[in-house]
C-alpha cells in the first residue's frame, strides 16, 4: 500500500498537524519508503498467534479506594496543574472561543 498527497493531508489533519503543500510533497515519498519497507511483515505466518500488547504478563492493580491516597496524583493541585498553562484564566485553562 502507498499513500498519495491527499491521503497524507488526511492523516495530517487527523493528527492535528498543519502542513502546507511543500511539506506534504516532501512527506509523501518518505512515508511511502517506510510503508513499503514494513510491508515485509505480510510475509510472516502469524496463524494462531495472539497480538502482543504487553511484554510482561501483568494485571492492572486497583488502588485503595481512598480520596487523595497519593497527594501527588490526587486532587487539590489546581495551582500546580495550571502553573505551566500557556493561558490560565480564573483557575481554568483558557482556549479560543469555540462556537459550533
Amino acid at each position: 500500500m502507498s499513500v498519495d498527497k491527499a491521503t497524507v493531508a488526511k492523516i495530517a489533519s487527523l493528527a492535528r498537524i498543519r502542513m502546507d503543500d511543500a511539506a506534504l510533497e516532501q512527506m509523501v515519498p518518505e512515508l511511502n519508503g517506510i510503508l513499503q519497507w514494513v510491508e515485509q511483515l505480510g510475509e510472516v505466518d502469524v496463524t494462531g498467534i495472539e497480538p502482543m500488547a504487553a511484554v510482561i504478563p501483568n494485571t492492572l492493580r486497583l488502588r485503595a479506594d481512598v480520596i487523595d491516597a497519593d497527594p501527588l496524583t490526587g486532587g487539590g493541585r489546581q495551582g500546580d496543574i495550571l502553573a505551566n498553562a500557556p493561558a490560565a484564566e480564573h483557575g481554568f485553562f483558557g482556549v479560543p472561543k469555540v462556537i459550533e
Binding site: L31, I34, Q40, I56
Partner: protein, 493 residues
C-alpha cells in the same frame, strides 16, 4: 590530588565514604568540567547548584555519622526526558520548551534519595526519536570521539546521546538513559561506555516523557559494569504510580556481581550475522565469544528466526504508541501554544503541533496515525503486534538452550553527524540488533569491546532472560575484565 572527574560511580561513592575527598569537591570538579565542555552540546540546561546542594547534604550526613545512600556524593547527568521539579524538562522539543514540572519523576527522585546530585539536563533526540542525536530542537550533540585522521564531528548515538557524550567525555561519571528501541545501548556502543536497559517494568516510567509506553524503559549509562549495577539498583523498584511497574524486590546486583561463568551457556544467534555489518564488528563478536569461553561459559548456537522482522514491527508499534502519547501536546495545558489571529480551537492545535514538533517526530506521528486508522489497523498494527509476539517467542525458545545471548550492539561504529540524513530508513537500520530485545522487554546491555581501525569504539551486547539483569551484568563483567578497554577520547573540547 587525583583528578576527580576521572572517577566513576563506585570510586566516588567509596572515596566519599572513606573521606578521601568530599562530595562537594567531586561536585565542583564535575561542574567545572561541564562548564568547559559546552562545545559538545551534551546539556540543554546545567544545574550546578543542584549538584552542590546534594553534595553538601551528603557531606553533612557523613559528618553526622549517618548512613550514606548507594549513590552518595555522585553527581550525574539526567536525560531531559525525566521530569525534574523546578527544572525545565523539554524532551529536546520546542513544544515543551520552558515546561517546568511541579513534580519529580520516580526514577530521578530515587536517585536523589540515594544521595546523587544533578549536573544538568542532558540533550537527546527529540522525544527520544532518533539514533544519532540530530533531531533535538536544541542542536546536535557531538561525540567526544574523533575518527582517526579526521576532524569531522561524530555522532554520539541516540536517543540518549547527551548521556553517552557526557559520560565518555568524563564530564559526568554516569547518566540516566531511556531505551525504547536501543536508545541506551546504541549510544553506549558508539562512545565506548556501558549501558543497561533492565527488564521492562523494573524502572518506573512515572514522570518520564512517554514515547512508546509498552517499550520505554529507563536505565543507567556509566563507564563500567559495576557502576551500572550500582546505579540501576538505585533507579529500579516498584512504583504504584506506574501501572506496568514490576512488583518485585530489587536484588543487590552489585553484591552479586560474579564474572565466573562456569556452567553458563552463552547463545550466539545465527540470524544476527547480517549483510551490511562491518567486518570489524563481526571480528569483535568472535572475540567476545572467546572471552566468555575463557570465563568458563559454553558457547551454543541459537536461532531467533524472526530477527529480520523485529525492526519493521518496531516501526509500526512504536510510532502507533507515539501518535497516541503525543496527542497530549495541544497547546492547552502546558508547553507551546501557537494561536494565529482569529482562528478556532482545532486550528490552534494544528498550528501548535506544526510549530512545536520536529520533522522526525511528525513523521512518526503520521505513520502511527496511519497504521491505527480505520481500514489499516489490522493489516499494519495487529500484524506487527503478532510479529512482536513471535519475536518474543523466539527468545523464550532460545533461552531454553542458553542463559544469556551475545551479539553485536550495532552494525557499524559511529558515523559523522549529517552523513546519514538522506533517508530516514538508513538511520532506522542502525537499531537492527537492539530492537528485538526491546520488543521482548528483556534486559540487555552494551559493554565496550574494542577500538576499530578508525579509532572508534565498538560495543558488544548481552541479552538476558526476563528479570535476569544479574546474568547480563555478570557476562558483561566477564567481557569488561578481558577486553581491558581503557581507550578514551582525546580532549579537544
Amino acid at each position: 590530588m587525583t583528578d576527580l572527574t576521572q572517577l566513576g560511580v563506585k570510586d566516588i561513592r567509596d572515596g566519599v565514604r572513606a573521606g578521601d575527598f568530599t562530595a562537594r569537591e567531586v561536585a565542583e570538579s564535575f561542574n567545572a568540567a561541564v562548564a568547559a565542555a559546552a562545545s559538545l552540546n551534551a546539556f540543554i540546561v546545567t544545574t550546578p547548584d543542584h549538584a552542590l546542594a546534594a553534595a553538601d547534604k551528603v557531606d553533612a550526613a557523613r559528618a553526622a555519622g549517618e548512613p550514606l545512600g548507594a549513590m552518595a556524593g555522585v553527581p550525574i547527568g539526567m536525560k531531559d526526558l525525566f521530569a525534574t521539579h523546578g527544572v525545565q524538562t523539554t524532551a529536546a522539543s520546542h513544544i515543551l520548551e520552558g515546561f517546568t514540572p511541579r513534580y519529580e519523576s520516580t526514577v530521578s527522585q530515587k536517585l536523589w534519595d540515594a544521595g546523587a546530585g544533578m549536573l544538568g539536563k542532558l540533550n537527546l533526540d527529540q522525544f527520544a526519536m532518533g539514533s544519532s542525536n540530530e533531531t533535538s530542537y536544541f542542536g546536535n550533540v557531538t561525540s567526544p570521539w574523533k575518527k582517526a585522521g579526521s576532524n569531522a564531528a561524530m555522532s554520539p548515538g541516540g536517543s540518549s546521546g547527551g548521556s553517552s557524550s557526557a559520560v565518555a567525555a568524563r564530564i559526568a561519571p554516569a547518566a540516566t538513559g531511556t531505551d525504547t528501541g536501543g536508545s541506551i545501548r546504541q549510544p553506549a556502543a558508539f562512545t565506548g561506555i556501558c549501558g543497561i536497559k533492565p527488564t521492562y517494568g523494573r524502572c518506573s516510567r512515572w514522570g518520564i516523557v512517554a514515547f512508546a509506553s509498552s517499550l520505554d524503559q529507563a536505565g543507567p549509562m556509566a563507564r563500567s559494569v559495576e557502576d551500572c549495577a550500582i546505579m540501576l539498583g538505585a533507579m529500579a523498584g516498584f512504583d504504584p504510580k506506574d501501572s506496568t511497574s514490576l512488583q518485585m524486590d530489587v536484588p543487590d546486583w552489585e553484591a552479586a556481581l560474579n564474572s565466573d561463568l562456569r556452567g553458563k551457556k552463552v547463545g550466539i544467534p545465527r540470524e544476527y550475522r547480517m549483510e551490511g555489518t562491518d567486518q570489524a564488528i563481526l571480528d569483535s563478536w568472535e572475540q567476545g565469544k572467546a572471552w566468555l569461553k575463557d570465563a568458563g561459559a559454553e558457547i551454543v548456537d541459537v536461532s531467533l528466526p524472526h530477527t529480520k522482522y523485529a525492526l519493521p514491527a518496531y516501526y509500526i508499534v512504536a510510532p502507533a504508541e507515539a501518535s497516541s502519547n503525543l496527542a497530549r501536546y495541544d497547546g492547552v495545558r502546558y508547553g507551546l501554544r501557537d494561536l494565529p489571529e482569529g482562528v478556532g480551537l482545532q486550528d490552534m492545535y494544528a498550528a501548535t503541533r506544526a510549530a512545536g514538533f520536529g520533522d522526525e517526530v511528525k513523521r512518526r506521528i503520521l505513520i502511527g496515525t496511519y497504521v491505527l486508522s480505520a481500514g489499516f489497523y489490522d493489516a499494519y498494527y495487529t500484524q506487527a503486534q503478532k510479529v512482536r509476539a513471535l519475536v518474543a517467542r523466539d527468545f523464550e525458545r532460545a533461552f531454553e538452550q542458553c542463559d544469556v545471548i551475545l551479539a553485536p550492539t550495532t552494525p557499524t561504529a559511529s558515523f559523522p553527524l549529517g552523513s546519514m540524513n538522506e533517508d530516514p530508513l538508513t538511520m532506522y537500520l542502525n537499531d537492527v540488533f537492539a530492537v528485538p530485545a526491546s520488543l521482548a522487554g528483556l534486559p540487555a546491555m552494551s559493554v565496550p569491546a574494542t577500538i576499530n581501525a578508525d579509532g572508534l569504539p565498538l560495543g558488544l551486547q548481552l541479552v538476558g532472560r526476563p528479570f535476569d539483569e544479574q546474568g547480563v551484568l555478570n557476562a558483561g563483567l566477564a567481557i569488561q575484565q578481558r577486553a581491558g578497554f581503557t581507550a578514551k577520547p582525546e580532549k579537544w573540547w
